[in-house]
């Protein structure tokens, strides 16, 4: 999911290549000038890559990302491809994709932008040396370097966006995990779900709780939902209103809602606030709520050894809530 969302969100902004190019003044003439220098780049690529990694491996902050010779060999190969890519003479979607992937990988392995951008400066210096030693005409060398600088900055803007998007996606995943943790819907029995609400219920959380519970009810074909609020520290008008809304929506799906875990304090608050929960079956304790829920689905808790024969007499699918 995260991948396609990343792509969606990037599509909106990042793939606006002309706009990005215009901002760093990267023209077709720049790309053509670099393409003409490709033979020079190819001739010196090995030394360029070696020099670059000498810097990265010489710094403790970056060395730790290259634990062994195998990794170094691999990153050198992709760095080589990257350097040569600067002299390809074209910037298309595939080029952008490649730069974005690099940024996302750096975010994943925890290479902070400060090191990444710092390394870019080193790259530029190496390329500057290359151009001024390899292009005899100083005016031409200066022009080539200006073009190269535009392209490298173009790449850097992409890399930073990729960082941000990767970070956003990580955040989104954490939020989802947190949401699931804060709405632990438990299947007590066939057709009976329990939602123990613990902690503060604000509007955002109340919405998420409702959405999650409704989806689970349909998935499980639940006939009864027990909403236990023993773990909710403060029940004020707003919280009561959220609880009422949740039970109303639950009922619209054809599922009964039972509210349990109502302390004396909460009962007093609800009545004093004039909250209409009289229509909802309520029980002081969860255990009693579970008994009631089982009765609604035609089951009951019996002492061990007692026959299960008369379970259904208690109530049918509908009426027991009033008992």
């Amino acid at each position: 999911m995260a991948g396609s969302e990343t792509r969606d969100r990037l599509t909106a902004d990042v793939y606006d290549i002309p706009r990005r190019r215009a901002f760093v003044e990267l023209g077709d003439d720049d790309l053509a000038r670099l393409a003409a220098l490709r033979p020079l780049a190819e001739a010196h690529i090995d030394r360029l890559v070696d020099d670059f990694y000498e810097l990265l491996l010489g710094q403790p902050d970056t060395r730790r990302f290259f634990p062994d010779a195998h990794v170094i060999e691999r990153v050198k190969r992709s760095q080589r491809a990257y350097f040569l890519g600067l002299f390809d003479g074209k910037v298309d979607e595939a080029y952008v994709d490649d730069r974005l992937r690099v940024g996302a990988v750096h975010e994943r392995i925890g290479l902070a932008p400060k090191w990444y951008l710092g390394a870019y400066r080193r790259q530029l210096r190496l390329l500057l040396d290359l151009l001024f030693s390899g292009v005899p005409d100083p005016v031409e060398a200066r022009a080539a370097f200006a073009s190269l600088q535009k392209l490298v900055f173009f790449d850097m803007t992409l890399a930073i966006d990729a960082y941000i998007v990767a970070r956003d996606d990580a955040l989104e995943r954490h939020q989802t995990a947190l949401r699931e943790l804060s709405t632990p819907v438990i299947r007590v029995h066939h057709g009976v779900l329990l939602l123990p609400l613990v902690g503060t219920v604000d509007s955002l959380r109340a919405e998420q709780v409702m959405d999650t519970v409704l989806v689970r009810i349909v998935e499980e074909q639940a006939r009864v939902l027990i909403l236990d609020i023993a773990g909710v520290p403060v029940v004020d008008t707003r919280v009561a209103e959220h609880l009422l809304q949740t039970t109303q929506a639950v009922r619209l799906l054809g599922c009964e809602a039972i509210l349990t875990g109502i302390s004396a304090h909460v009962a007093r608050t609800l009545v004093q606030l004039g909250v209409e929960i009289a229509t909802m079956p309520t029980r002081a304790r969860l255990a009693e709520g579970i008994e009631l829920a089982l009765a609604i689905v035609g089951k009951r808790i019996a002492p061990a050894g007692a026959g299960a024969g008369s379970a259904a007499e208690h109530a049918g699918p509908d009426g027991a809530g009033r008992a």
Partner: protein, 131 residues
């Protein structure tokens, strides 16, 4: 011919909405259902709305009213299969359709009707009126 067919099984009417309801179609549905109850003397009605992706206040009101009207004509009505996002939206709008009986799906709806006819339930929430 109505775009939303109404099936009769014994004394129960089944109506499954699988097309998007605009205002005119919702009104037509109400008319057709009440007409069929009148003709057949049906005592139960299950409206399956699992195919409805959007139910706004107007359509919700027509569905709820239809249930009330059917009840006046002696037919218990169950709304079956409402989607989670539809239920959440109606409630958030302040439109909880109180007094409407709901079921998880068609089977559950038929079971509720059968149960109601045996006399166990009659007006589940007495004293409550819809907004």
């Amino acid at each position: 011919m109505s775009p939303i067919p109404i099936l009769r099984i014994g004394t129960t009417l089944l109506c499954s909405v699988h097309v998007e309801l605009d205002d005119a179609l919702a009104e037509r549905l109400q008319e057709d259902v009440l007409g069929t109850i009148e003709r057949t003397g049906a005592t139960g009605l299950v409206v399956d709305i699992s195919g409805l992706e959007t139910v706004d206040s107007y359509v919700a009101r027509i569905l709820a009213d239809t249930g009330r009207m059917a009840r006046l004509m002696g037919a218990d009505t169950v709304l079956a299969g409402m989607r989670p996002e539809v239920a959440a939206t109606l409630v958030r709008m302040g439109f909880p359709l109180e007094g409407v009986r709901a079921a998880l799906d068609l089977d559950h709806g038929l079971a509720l009707l059968a149960h109601g006819r045996s006399g166990a339930t009659e007006g589940r929430r007495p004293g409550r009126t819809a907004p």
